[in-house]
Amino acid sequence: MRLDIEDVTIEAAGIRLVEHIGLTVGSGTFAGLVGPNGSGKSTLLRSLYRALRPAGGVIRLDGDDLHAMDARAAARALAALPQESSAEFDFTVAEVVAMGRLPHRGRTAASDREICARAMARTGVAHLADRGFLGLSGGEKQRVLIARALAQQPEILVLDEPTNHLDIAHQLDVLSLVRDSGLTVLAALHDLNLAAAHCDVLYVLDGGRIVASGPPEDVLRPPLLAEVFGVRAHPVRHPETDAVQLLFDLLPPAT
């Protein structure tokens, strides 16, 4: 499923958080959203999983206006891993994954169980099914939430900083799980090297606007990185994968 964000502007309390965003993620493409803190990445993603409504513009899933769709129909097409983590009620892993079935109609307990079991097997959390979600490690939690998203059987997956607080092995693990899902993916990512290595296409957000887009090696150029992130970057090629990777320094002090 193809995701089109057309001229989207989002306001909260009279302040424009993002404006005139145009962005397309082709079917089966892994798109990364990068930008400094406060650039509007999370805000834009919130409007995708309908926690926010844009003040202007349209978000389309294969041409259909997302915010004109029934909430549950939208959730059947698009799943999300928001950044929040509520820690009040200790659901088991199986219960958390089962929540992914909520938007679906005409389902039976047996089919739900089977779909959830498959989702848990795919992300390697089947053995955790009866454990409490709150007691899991950060990496396990993300795997469980990805299983929930897969149980939702969506065509588009939206992730808000899915690698936050994870050690490097788990970061790579989570992104390859997402990659292997084959879904259309839009992920906000903090780490530019992870983004460069995993994304087909990158969108750079700065001050609520898209300032660059394209394949990682075209986007992650030193002048842009100096302007948007305030760092001196030195692109190199990964010796095995040939993906562009960056070495960073502080910018020389302005005179």
Binding site: R46, A51, A73, R76, P82, S86, E88, F89, T92, L102
Partner: protein
């Protein structure tokens, strides 16, 4: 029906019959069940037994049933309020509804307001002021970002203090000592005023409220995980929270109007049930109302028997029984509160 619910349903039936057979007037076994059976099947009761029959059928039975209804209602509402404000320490009274109802009830008890309503004055006034309190809490708590959990709790708590101040002034200014006593009885909760006439409305409100919560049980799960998660799963969190506010306030108002502010049931029962069956609201809502009903029926029996013929407010019993049980369960430590 899950085994635990079935067991609790049987226990509730047993408790209802036992509750009818226990009391200060000394009508006990096997007469009480016999009168109960006669009343249910249209059997005959001999003339010398008429007074005892009246005690069983007109006083104890409605009281026991009202206890079960109120206990079930408070437990179900407690579950819903905790999910709504995403806080396991919330209870049905955290929204200020019961304190509001107390203002209306005490206006009747202490000031003789609404005398024109006759025997209905107390319930009607309590319910009306519960609705007024609910409207006020809703209006104050609402913000451009919807009803957020924190605003709801803070508004409810703050306004509850205001309502309680009004009640206290009324109690303080009351000339009649007996009236102050019955005002206190009402504040702590009592089933002493139970009549058949109160039952249909209270039972309907509780049943309808429970049915709504059951229908939305999966959405409650999503809401308990967080507003953004709920939105991503196709549940509009603001709308669900508005609906929950209305339903819980209406059920709380109805229950409080007939039984006073019986504390602890709505806090403890959801907690204990979550410890036993986990957090999934489909299971919690299948068990909690039955557990609440059983608890309140027995708490009421104790409140009648301990200092017979005098009666303790039933809220005292629920606290005395509930607090140690609660602390004991918490010490067993199988329950991760707030993830810690």
């Amino acid at each position: 029906m899950p085994p635990l619910s079935l067991a609790l349903a049987l226990l509730l039936l047993l408790s209802l019959v036992s509750g009818v057979g226990l009391g200060a007037a000394g009508v006990g076994w096997p007469d009480a069940p016999r009168f109960l059976w006669a009343g249910l099947t249209g059997g005959t009761v001999h003339a010398p037994d008429a007074a005892a029959y009246t005690i069983v059928w007109e006083i104890r039975l409605p009281r026991v049933l009202l206890g079960a209804v109120a206990g079930a209602g408070l437990a179900a509402v407690g579950v819903a309020v905790q999910a709504m404000v995403r806080n396991a320490l919330a209870d049905p009274f955290v929204l200020g509804i019961s304190s509001g109802a107390a203002v209306g009830a005490n206006a009747v008890i202490l000031l003789g307001a609404f005398a024109g309503f006759g025997v209905w004055a107390l319930s009607a006034s309590a319910f009306a002021s519960a609705l007024a309190a609910m409207t006020l809490v809703y209006a104050v708590a609402r913000s451009p970002r919807g009803l957020t959990p924190l605003r709801l709790i803070l508004t409810g708590t703050a306004l509850a203090y205001g309502f309680e101040a009004v009640t206290t002034v009324m109690v303080f200014g009351a000339a009649r000592g007996e009236a102050a006593r019955s005002a206190m009885m009402w504040l702590l909760g009592s089933l002493g005023g139970a009549t058949w006439a109160q039952l249909p409305l209270a039972a309907t409100a509780v049943a309808a409220g429970w049915a709504f919560l059951w229908w939305r049980a999966e959405a409650l799960n999503a809401l308990a995980m967080g507003d953004e998660t709920a939105a991503a799963l196709g549940v509009a969190p603001d709308r669900l929270r508005r609906e929950l506010f209305l339903v819980t306030a209406a059920v709380t108002g109805t229950v409080v109007a007939v039984s006073g502010a019986i504390g602890f049931v709505g806090l403890m029962v959801p907690h204990v049930v979550r410890m036993l069956v986990g957090a999934d609201h489909r299971r919690v809502l299948a068990v909690a109302p039955l557990a609440g009903a059983v608890l309140l029926v027995w708490a009421d029996v104790l409140s009648r028997l301990l200092f017979a013929p005098a009666e303790l407010p039933v809220g005292v019993i629920t606290a005395v029984v509930g607090v140690p049980a609660f602390l004991l369960l918490m010490r067993r430590g199988a329950y991760a509160f707030g993830g810690r």
